[in-house]
């Protein structure tokens, strides 16, 4: 009985530590600047910010999308949102790259 309780205690402890670590990591990631919601690309930005984001977006567009295919035309924002969500998964582009490319492609 004592041994069984000790084993349960160990299992519970490890489970708790694992979940607690996951909780901390998940909270940190979810709160990071690039961890905003997926549709945060076409945010309203000030002119200087917008210019900077457009420039960075173009750079990242050329670096990421050009790896596989020729540059496509621009599509309406609601279509670009879907396309970039698909490419986020397919090409494992980063959240920040996706956000900036979406901004660039919807301006």
């Amino acid at each position: 009985m004592t041994q069984s309780r000790k084993m349960n205690f160990n299992l519970n402890s490890w489970l708790a530590i694992l979940l607690f670590t996951l909780a901390i990591v998940s909270s940190l990631f979810a709160g990071s600047s690039s961890g905003g919601k997926e549709g945060a690309g076409a945010v309203v930005a000030h002119n200087s910010d917008a210019e900077s984001m457009r420039f960075q977006g173009e750079q990242r567009f050329r670096a990421n999308c050009g790896r596989c295919h020729a540059a496509p035309q621009k599509f309406p924002p609601r279509m670009m949102g879907t396309i970039l969500r698909h490419m986020r998964v397919r090409a494992t582009i980063t959240a920040e790259d996706r956000r900036l490319i979406l901004f660039y492609m919807t301006q």
């Binding site: 996951l22 670096a63 698909h86 998964v89």
Partner: protein
């Protein structure tokens, strides 16, 4: 009593039945406290992503029907094969973090019989992938269903006819790239200012045949680094079969797009018991040509060299997988002309050198990518 069973027991039986003695009551209280603690921790784990997932999406991505249509003529050793294919891709975004995506392939391959007569041949159809993706965090995406096996880069990224630079498949493409059925974790994130890491790990158990209890099980993964400055990507893949001889397969890939030259250089290597080989391909956009500028800006020239060595399987098994039955070397040269976005004409010439003889391979055709929104999209 094992912990898992204790929790199952607690949830299965009403407390009135469970708490008949003081000992059980005390144990039930301990279990209830532990359960509450674990639920609280789970809430902490999933809470941030759930809360973000519920944030209203200002863009409201719209479902899309995309895909490609291609018709090609492959003339190999004097035999003409007309290959026509439609590959529809359905993308359905749900909320802010979910995506359902699927691609099917309908392909007709028509040949004139050796004894003469009209063209004829099989029309095949299959689902390449049908998966649900959940973007859990900037670092992790969960995928379940049938998905393209992330072994190398060609199968996942370069396969569609409107993307690939040369229409004939690389010789090593069939190595460990059949679609997987199961689950996958993947993602990409910056490790520092100069490098992004991307990864995918998966487990698959694909049923073989209708109603069969047999399955083909494997685990695998791919990891790569992308350096945005020099636009260089390098990575490796691994897959282990979980049955029979439990054999390993591995591969390497690279891609480089120098910023100052319109060149796209890619390469893959794969090794498994089915065979091994490599391909290296360079595509150059003639935008820097000083003549016929308008046409040259829309033209790519491409060259590919590749080699395949047979593995431990028989020639018949290799042929059934789509692999060459004998050691083969191949050189291809081609041109792509982009008529407009999504539409291109292709032509290529290749020479195959095999222990069974050498022969030429020509290809001509058209590839078109379509994109249809399945809802109102507003203005671009």
């Amino acid at each position: 009593m094992p912990l898992a069973y204790r929790y199952t027991f607690l949830y299965t039986f009403p407390c009135a039945t469970l708490c008949t003695t003081a000992g059980w009551r005390q144990q039930a209280l301990v279990l209830a406290r532990q359960t509450a603690f674990l639920l609280l921790l789970l809430l902490l784990v999933l809470g941030p992503t759930w809360s973000l997932g519920q944030t209203p999406d200002t863009e409201k991505p719209v479902p899309i029907l995309s895909g490609s249509i291609g018709t090609f003529s492959f003339i190999t050793g004097g035999q003409n094969l007309i290959d026509t294919q439609i590959n529809p891709v359905l993308l359905v975004p749900l909320g802010d973090r979910w995506l359902i995506e699927s691609r099917a392939e309908f392909e007709g391959q028509f040949q004139r019989p050796l004894e003469g007569g009209p063209y004829g041949g099989p029309v095949t159809k299959h689902v390449d992938y049908a998966q649900v993706d959940y973007i859990a965090s900037p670092y992790l995406t969960l995928t379940a269903g049938r998905f393209l096996t992330p072994f190398g880069i060609f199968n996942e990224r370069l396969y569609p006819v409107w993307i690939r630079e040369l229409q004939p498949d690389p010789l090593i493409l069939p190595i460990n790239t059949a679609s997987s059925d199961g689950g996958m974790l993947r993602g990409g994130f910056p490790v520092n200012a100069k490098a992004n890491l991307n990864y995918a790990v998966y487990v698959s158990a694909t049923s073989i045949g209708i109603g069969s209890v047999d399955s083909e099980r494997h685990v695998g993964g791919r990891m790569g680094f992308f350096f945005p400055g020099p636009r260089l990507e390098v990575g490796s893949s691994w897959q282990k079969s979980l049955q029979d001889a439990r054999k390993n397969a591995f591969g390497f890939h690279m891609g480089w797009q120098p910023a100052k030259v319109p060149l796209n250089l890619r390469s893959e290597f794969a090794h498994s018991f089915e065979g091994s080989g490599y391909w290296i391909e360079g595509a150059y956009r003639l935008s820097q040509a000083q003549f016929w500028r308008k046409a040259m800006r829309h033209t790519d020239v491409v060259a590919r060299a590749q080699q395949f060595h047979t593995g431990e399987i028989s020639a018949a098994e290799a042929a059934s997988l789509g692999l060459q039955p004998v050691n083969t070397r191949e050189a291809d040269f081609g041109v792509n002309y982009f008529v407009r976005d999504g539409l291109k004409g292709i032509a290529s010439y290749g020479r195959l050198f095999t222990s069974a003889g050498n022969f030429n391979q020509w290809s001509f055709g058209l590839a078109y990518r379509f994109l249809i929104p399945l809802g109102r999209v507003g203005e671009p």
